[in-house]
């Protein structure tokens, strides 16, 4: 059990030790980004911007244009809203390979409320050309995603939370490849396609469903864009029900991307999007909020049973 945020910090330190071009750019976010040790070990490779997210992304673009591997690290809520135009123009459109790291994403900040939640970021960023969206689910995926980000010469957005996440294992999908979903649990009766911190409750749902003789598979769709359409086509052809689960609004996220692909390809399978409804988000911890909206093993189980009985 380890938080993806911790894994990010450790991985970035390992990368920085090997490559002086790796630079962390923070908006008074080195504490919340677990980058205090990074700053102590590599003082020349961290740039503090202060609480100024537009400048954070603009400066990171300027660093990236000069060959620096700039990781712009800021809470996902601010990074993808306050600096959206900088992301669109200075990173994606200008093709400056900034590594946009949205920390404490989704409802990780729990009771701090909607100012600190990012339930819009997939929707906002999916409509911007030249920006992959990656949402790792566990330590393995997080480390792989950060290493990929360092190696690529293109822009990328990676978002994750700060809660300890169980290791999902690599027995069924030993590799991590951007744009390719990973099978976490195999099953024949329906598919649960989730991303980030919602993959784990799907695994819990699989166990509950197994007790009722239902065999569900879980896919970690860690890349929201580009979407793994090969995998979706195979699921569509199989014709079994599909449920998508995400820590994001039901509008414009993973679920709508998956549904849009399936529908346009002529795959009409029983289908349900699970995420956050279009309402003021309930107050609570991340876990309480997940439970409230059914993003739990039992909640997903219930939706699965309904879909199977349709």
């Amino acid at each position: 059990m380890k938080a993806n945020l911790e894994v990010f910090s450790e991985t970035l330190q390992a990368l920085a030790a090997q490559d002086r071009q790796v630079i962390a750019v923070t908006s008074d976010s080195r504490g919340s980004g677990k980058l205090v040790p990074f700053g102590e070990k590599f003082p020349d490779q961290i740039v503090e911007i202060g609480i100024a997210e537009q400048n954070l992304v603009g400066v990171a673009a300027g660093l990236a244009a000069m060959g620096k591997k700039a990781f712009a690290v800021s809470p996902a809520c601010f990074l993808t809203a306050r600096s959206l135009e900088q992301i669109k123009n200075d990173v994606a459109y200008s093709d400056n390979p900034v590594r946009l790291i949205g920390i404490s994403a989704g409802v990780s900040y729990g009771a701090l409320g909607s100012t600190h939640h990012s339930l819009h970021d997939f929707a906002a960023l999916r409509a911007i050309h030249n920006l992959p969206i990656v949402v790792p689910a566990d330590a393995f995926e997080t480390e792989q995603a950060i290493r990929y980000a360092s190696a690529t010469d293109k822009p990328i957005y990676i978002r994750f939370g700060k809660k300890n996440m169980p290791d999902l294992g690599q027995s069924l999908s030993p590799n991590f490849e951007i744009g390719k979903g990973r099978i976490i649990r195999a099953g024949a009766d329906l598919s649960l396609i989730a991303t980030g911190e919602t993959v784990w409750p799907c695994v819990q749902a699989v166990e509950l469903l197994a007790e009722q003789g239902i065999s569900a598979q879980v896919i970690s769709m860690h890349t929201i864009k580009p979407l793994d359409t090969d995998l979706l086509a195979s699921l569509g052809a199989a014709g079994k029900p599909i449920i998508t689960v995400e820590e994001h609004s039901v509008h414009g996220g993973l679920g709508e991307a998956v549904g849009s692909y399936l529908f346009q390809q002529g795959f009409f399978v029983p289908f349900q999007i699970m995420g956050f409804p279009d309402e003021y988000t309930v107050t609570g911890s991340q876990t309480e909020i997940f439970d409230h909206y059914g993003l739990s093993g039992a909640g997903i189980q219930g939706v699965a049973l309904n879909l199977l009985n349709r």
């Binding site: 202060g50 537009q54 400048n55 603009g58 400066v59 700039a70 900088q86």
Partner: protein, 266 residues
């Protein structure tokens, strides 16, 4: 290039700007004519750019992206692409659009949204410092653009990191799209504001070639501080009926106006 040669260049560029905009039937005429002397001195006297891809080149990012026709004319004159290519400007599938893009040799960034260039320049300048490179970084900002808060974020940053390899130039023609700055959103006292943000500031006549050369030669104005040049300019400079008239922000001359403009610039 000597002063007389630079003055001749300004004349040539002004005519070419009018020609390009007249042919495209679109463009930001007033702003192009107000920044052209700045661009002239930058590209023909200040910037060290052996090729557009030389990693050691000085960087210029035109934050005031809409005055792109002026930049097109100057970059063509640098030999980065043929001037005649600009005949396609604004046409279907042309790479020459109404704002700077990196597709064009010599253009550093895609600008056009206001309040973006200074932050990117600050990132360039910081990277150069980290690399112990002596390259310099320049931007031109519009006066209306100074209302964008992101500029002031970047100003704080550049002073904090003592980026004395960075120079921002304000094209202060006092007019923006809907009228005088003073009515839309007042900037004054702009010099004191910028100084209070930790920059070293110099005010110049933005059309006086000799004064511009002297000012750029004096960079950085203070060691350890970013430099800011407030260039007092005239929107539409050089064409009598365009000067200081806000509607020429993106006005396009009709045939008679076109002939008159070329005659005045001859």
């Amino acid at each position: 290039m000597n002063i007389e040669a630079l003055k001749a260049k300004s004349k040539q560029y002004r005519k070419q700007i009018i020609e390009v905009i007249y042919q495209a039937k679109a463009g930001h005429t007033g702003g192009c004519l107000s920044i052209i002397d700045l661009l002239n001195v930058l590209y023909n006297h200040v910037l060290r750019i052996s090729t557009p891809t030389d990693p050691m080149r000085d960087r210029f990012i035109q934050s005031k992206g809409h005055a792109v026709e002026a930049l097109y004319v100057v970059l063509a004159d640098q030999g980065f692409f043929p001037f005649d290519d600009l005949k396609s400007m604004g046409k279907y599938q042309s790479p020459y659009i109404g704002h700077p893009t990196k597709k064009i040799p010599g253009m550093e960034q895609n600008t056009g949204g206001l309040g973006h260039g200074l932050s990117i320049c600050a990132g360039n300048a910081l990277a150069a410092k980290k690399d112990q490179s002596d390259l310099k970084v320049f931007t031109i900002l519009g006066d209306g653009e100074m209302a964008e808060g992101s500029n002031w974020e970047a100003m704080m940053f550049a002073a904090h990191y003592q980026l004395d390899n960075l120079c921002a130039i304000l094209d202060y023609n006092k007019l923006q799209i809907s009228g005088p700055n003073a009515k839309v959103m007042g900037l004054e006292p702009i010099k004191q504001k910028i100084e209070s943000f930790g920059w070293s500031v110099k005010e110049v006549d933005g059309h006086d070639i000799e004064e511009l050369v002297e000012s750029f030669d004096a960079l950085p104005f203070e060691s350890g501080k970013p430099s800011f040049i407030i260039a007092h300019t005239v929107k539409g400079k050089g064409v009598s009926y365009m000067e200081n008239v806000a509607k020429w922000h993106h006005g396009v001359p009709d045939p008679a106006q076109f002939e008159q403009a070329l005659a005045e610039l001859a």
